[in-house]
Amino acid sequence: MTADKLFDGLQICARTKCHPDRCGCVMSVFLDRGQLKDAAKRLLEKKYYIEDVTGLDVAEGIEVLYHFDNFDNPGRIVLRVLTGRENPEVPTISDIFSGAQWHERECFDFFGVKFTGHPQFRPLLMPADFTEHPLLKPEKNRQSLYEMLSGCEKVSPAKGERYCFEAPPAPEPPEASAPKDAGQSQTEKKE
């Protein structure tokens, strides 16, 4: 119940439909990266703890996932931030959740995502002179995130610099896959 009101006032770009029995999460939202720190602060206030930070290489760009859970009222919350493939950058939350420090360094090792403001940003699991990012996929293997998470729906008109499913390299126009925001796309076209 508390999870629903947790992000009131924050701009959520989209949310995926969650059935805890099927996906193990009670809430999964796409946020603009500018809102990430605010969301993390709220989670810390509500006594959530950080499970992990990880990435996912998809056709729309690189997605960074944050898993949080609560000791007293269990129910996993997933924050998702989509960043571009060229120079992927996300603000660090390690000043809020100290445990994110290592997870973010790991995420850089595997996906090359830069976490701005991180106090000790250097390789953790990979050798220092290793320049590859092993979990990035070749282009032909990338899948559309929108299709993988079939329960995705947009909840508000997005005003952020980049929001889900409409990152530049998306192979499909978002209008075709998301009938719900057809109206909004039209207004965008008029502008």
């Binding site: 703890y49 499970e51 992990d52 290489d57 898993h67 000791f71 269990p74 250097r122 993988m148």
Partner: protein, 384 residues
């Protein structure tokens, strides 16, 4: 030992560049130090006998299990799970199998669920016994590890009978377990429970109440609950800080809701509290095994309709189980093909070790060894 006038490698250089006051001794503990239990290295800045700064350096055992997950099929990946954490391998088996079962909605027969509980708890006792022996060895007591390994050997023999391996198990299957347990195993497991019940009080008298041990553990490495939350510590490390949280109760899976057991919690937040949690957990695991043995239903150990080829629907899933070191999580994203699109392993030791740098600040070097031991680290699990 490295001092400033020697060059040092990349991590030493980084560590030195963050130094705010020159002239302090930089110690390099590991990667082959006996008390780091594997190839963990900690760079320490000393101010006299006290640690002013510490930084764990990991990755020496990194095998990139997550990448292997993306190139192997669901079945081919199963043996990897036994090699992530060699002490509680069955919990990792379970986390992976459970995630796939959840995504594919595979029903598991009740008998198989009970067998999973029995074997997983037996493995948990083995893991805690190794930790118990090795921790005391770190602190200078040699004899306990001999007793611990003696007990553990009984359980390993039993597990070997049904799983075929002693350490790197690959026993659970999508929709059940590999082999059924027989009467020999059941009577052996009952004997093992009896043995543990006679041993644990002896360990308490000989070791837990020992004055020297308590001097080395009490009020050492105090971990406030707020800090545990910031770092995402789970398992006995968290429960030693007074938080009653166990995945078996918080996110119930399998038949754990039907079984009666307590979650041991201690409020002292120090190394001794974490010690007590683990010792108490062994008692609880014995309780769980006994109940599960008496409730064991008849029936199949594999779901008759379990698919031979695993091809989950598109989607993602997060499944967590309670390992001996804390919350083991598997995040699995599937694109509908026969290999996972992404497989993320959330290892509890990783989060538990990341708080060491803050915890060790200002403690004696000798106490840092005690703190490291009390976190119960398994390095292959951290590096994955």
């Amino acid at each position: 030992m490295t001092t400033q006038n020697l060059a040092g490698d990349f991590y030493t250089q980084c560590f030195l560049s963050e130094q705010d006051e020159s002239g302090r001794v930089i110690l390099n503990m590991g990667p082959q130090h006996p008390s780091t239990h594997g190839v963990l290295r900690v760079i320490i800045e000393m101010e006299g006998e006290y640690i002013s700064r510490a930084e764990p350096v990991i990755g020496y055992l990194h095998r990139m299990h997550e990448k292997m997950g993306e190139v192997k099929t669901y079945h081919q990946y199963m043996p990897n799970m036994g090699r992530v954490d060699y002490l509680h391998a069955l919990a990792w088996n379970w986390a992976y199998i459970g995630a796939v079962e959840k995504l594919c909605q595979i029903e598991v027969p009740r008998r198989a669920e009970f067998i999973r509980v029995i074997t997983c708890e037996m493995n948990r006792i083995c893991s805690h016994l190794v930790w118990w022996g090795a921790y005391l060895l770190d602190l200078g007591a040699f004899t306990p590890i001999m007793y611990a390994f003696d007990d553990r050997e009984q359980a390993l023999d039993l597990l070997q009978m049904i799983t075929g391996s002693r350490l790197t198990y690959c026993y659970y299957r999508f929709g059940g377990v590999r082999t059924d347990i027989d009467n020999q195993f059941i009577s052996g497991a009952r004997d093992f429970c009896k043995l543990m019940k006679s041993r644990l009080p002896m360990y308490k008298d000989l070791v837990t109440d020992n004055y020297i041990l308590r001097k080395r553990c009490e009020e050492i490495g105090e971990l406030p609950l707020e800090m545990a939350r910031r770092y995402g510590a789970t398992g006995p490390v968290l429960r030693g800080s007074g938080q009653k949280y166990d995945v078996r109760r918080a996110e119930p899976y399998s038949v754990y809701p039907e079984l009666d057991f307590d979650i041991p919690v201690f409020n002292e937040c120090d190394a001794m509290a974490r010690y007590r949690v683990r010792v108490a957990e062994m008692e609880q695991s014995v309780r769980i095994i006994e109940q599960a043995l008496s409730k064991l239903p008849k029936g199949d150990v594999m779901a008759p309709k379990a698919p031979k080829r695993i091809k989950p629907p598109k989607g993602d899933v997060y499944f967590a189980v309670e390992g001996a070191r804390g919350k083991i999580g598997v995040y699995l994203a599937s694109d509908g093909s026969s290999t996972p699109y992404r497989l993320k392993l959330r290892s509890p030791s990783y989060s538990n070790l990341s708080l060491f740098a803050e915890l060790a600040q200002g403690t004696l070097l000798a106490d840092a060894v005690s703190i490291l031991g009390s976190l119960d680290l398994v390095i292959p699990e951290i590096d994955r």
